[in-house]
């Protein structure tokens, strides 16, 4: 079933070498990302790690969405041969959304609370492509249908607080997919979806990778999902990559943190009360 998966990805799309993101805060510098390196072809790369380990900040740095007060540095940060750190903000903006897109965590925060879902998608589309209003609406509805929203015409006219958690998340996904990016950074894209819809959304992403050759960075803390969906997995802890391995080999992970993470998920048919929790060791962060 995964015959095409082990095939070597043609060419690298994204190269990240020694990426660092530092926040100046009132109590000193906070290093959110401390020297992360990986490269991505036209494949699915999972990033897992606990809350606060710097997954989102890594994604945001690639997107150029780091908060302005923070400092980003890297030995190399290039997308399709373009050095992302040296191009102008305008070129960066042009890349963003068109060729690189990111599904942000917290759809509730990323969607405008006073604009309807449909209008937000349509506006996203129209900033990237010259299409008529009617066509944009058609495409938006189609996209909503593709992410398995029942009755897209109704959801089109709803405001973010009028949709369920999972619908908001799918609206966000639809908004990002509509521009047809080459690199997609998906930050916890399915955390609010039920399992069947989750698989539908993953299928969409999977098809984009397989058919259109999109590169996908899939940020998640759901190891079960990552191990079954991604090709490779990067495990982060305290801003660093502690382990990189093939997704299929995640079960044989060596780092105690990865093993701990795997262990503390409840599983159907295995009763454990209370659940084991992680015992974090200071040396992991070193």
């Amino acid at each position: 079933m995964n015959g095409n998966r082990d095939a070597q990805p043609k060419g690298t799309l994204l190269e990240v070498d020694d990426l660092r993101v530092t926040f100046p805060t009132r109590t000193g510098l906070v290093q959110a990302v401390r020297g992360v390196s990986f490269s991505l072809g036209r494949e699915r790369l999972g990033i897992v790690g606990e809350s606060g380990s710097g997954k989102s900040q890594t994604g945001r740095a690639i997107m150029g969405l780091t908060p302005p007060q923070a400092e980003v540095s890297a030995k190399k940060l290039s997308f399709d041969g373009i050095d992302l750190l040296s191009i102008s903000p305008r070129q960066r903006r042009a890349l963003r959304g068109n060729r690189i897109a990111m599904i942000l965590q917290d759809p509730k925060y990323s969607l405008d609370p006073v604009m309807t879902i449909g209008r937000q998608i349509v506006e996203t589309l129209r900033t990237h492509e010259k299409v008529s209003k009617a066509e944009a609406r058609e495409r938006a509805l189609e996209m909503l249908r593709a992410v398995q929203i029942r009755d897209p015409a109704r959801v089109f006219d709803l405001h973010p607080h009028e949709v369920s958690g999972g619908m908001g998340q799918r609206a966000m996904i639809a908004m990002m997919l509509i521009a047809g990016p080459e690199l997609m950074i998906a930050d916890e894209p399915t955390s609010a979806l039920d399992v069947t819809v989750q698989l539908d959304v993953l299928n969409i992403l999977d098809r984009l990778v397989a058919e259109r050759g999109m590169g996908l960075i899939f940020i998640s803390h759901d190891l079960r999902l990552v191990s079954s969906f991604c090709d490779r997995v990067v495990v982060m802890y305290a801003g660093k990559v502690v382990e990189q391995l093939k997704a299929s080999e995640l079960r044989d992970a060596r780092h105690p943190y990865t093993r701990g993470l795997l262990n503390c998920m409840p599983r159907i048919g295995f009763e454990r009360h209370p659940l084991p929790v992680l015992d974090r060791k200071p040396e992991w962060a070193a």
């Binding site: 926040f23 805060t25 009132r26 109590t27 908060p67 609370p113 006073v114 405001h159 607080h161």
Partner: protein, 308 residues
């Protein structure tokens, strides 16, 4: 020296502690962070200094002004140019312009404070109630707001003063009545973005009354944008007051109100330019001060700038 350094360092740490031990410490810490953000902006500090200077001048006008602001020396001192005896010169009634400007600071402050105290709460109340209640209440309140917004501020204020009769109190009232609608719009917009949030729902689920929710949970979120807006508007308020004064509908002679002073100086603008220039400069500087302060507050208080 080193001892006081250590003292101030630990006080700073106390303020910035991310686990404050009391309500007071949490509040002070928050205020301190806002202050640090504010004071990082040089221009905002300049603005604040101007406003502080205005306060000081108004408070100590009796001490600072060498002459009476209302009684002049008609015989010997009419329209004297700036000099050692009269720093900014004298006007057509022989009054010392410097003294009049110093006393005028009181009237400027009076206008600005009263307008802010009347208009901001009205706007806040109308906006938050309309935004939170929605439906008919919202429609009615907002249509009323729109009606006020449809007229230029000065024209509307003129109409009110014409109806109420000239005088500085009526001018203040007229300006206040005409300046609340934008505040109501801001407060409403802010309310709309938060009213469906989970944290407001959580308070509803505690059994809180709508009144309590608006007053204690929604208003605090609107206040910072309102303060910013009001501060930025101060300049406009001063100018409107001056405009009314200039048209003879605001402060009545012999009150040393800056706008009225310009009005009376305009007759001599070509030969005795200082009569109008001095109050003009005062208005300019104070307006600028409020504007700079408002910009600084925006950086320091803006709820969207993140709380880190």
């Amino acid at each position: 020296m080193t001892a006081s350094d250590a003292g101030s360092l630990s006080r700073r740490e106390w303020l910035l502690s991310d686990r404050p031990a009391s309500r007071l410490q949490a509040r002070l810490g928050r205020a301190y962070v806002a202050w640090r953000r504010f004071s990082a902006n040089r221009l905002a500090l300049v603005g604040m200094l101007i406003i502080i200077a205005l306060l000081v001048v108004a408070a100590f006008a009796d001490v600072l002004a060498p002459y009476s602001p209302t009684v002049g020396d008609l015989k010997n001192a009419r329209l004297l140019p700036p000099g050692a005896a009269h720093w900014f010169g004298t006007d057509d009634l022989g009054r010392d312009i410097y003294s009049r400007i110093v006393y005028g600071a009181r009237w400027t402050l009076y206008v600005v404070v009263l307008v802010a105290v009347i208009a901001a709460p009205i706007g806040l109340l109308v906006g938050t109630v309309a935004g939170y209640a929605g439906g008919w209440t919202d429609a009615i309140l907002m249509r009323i707001t729109d009606i006020f917004l449809a007229f230029p501020k000065l024209v509307l204020a003129l109409a009110f003063v014409a109806a109420l009769g000239p005088g500085i109190e009526n001018a203040v009232l007229a300006i206040a009545i005409t300046s609340w609608p934008p505040y109501a719009r801001i407060a409403r917009a802010e309310t709309l973005t938060v009213r469906n949030s989970d944290y407001i729902k959580a308070v509803q689920l505690m059994g809180a009354s709508p009144f309590r929710i608006v007053l204690r949970h929604i208003m605090p979120l609107c206040i910072s944008s309102l303060i910013i807006r009001v501060t930025l508007d101060m300049a406009g308020i001063i100018l409107t007051a001056a405009g009314l004064g200039f048209l003879g509908l605001g402060a009545q002679p012999p009150l040393p109100e800056w706008g009225a002073m310009i009005a009376s100086g305009r007759r001599f603008i070509l030969d005795q330019w200082w009569v109008a220039a001095a109050p003009g400069a005062a208005i300019l500087i104070v307006s600028l001060g409020f504007n700079l302060l408002g910009d600084g507050l925006r950086d320091a208080l803006d709820p969207r700038s993140g709380d880190q």
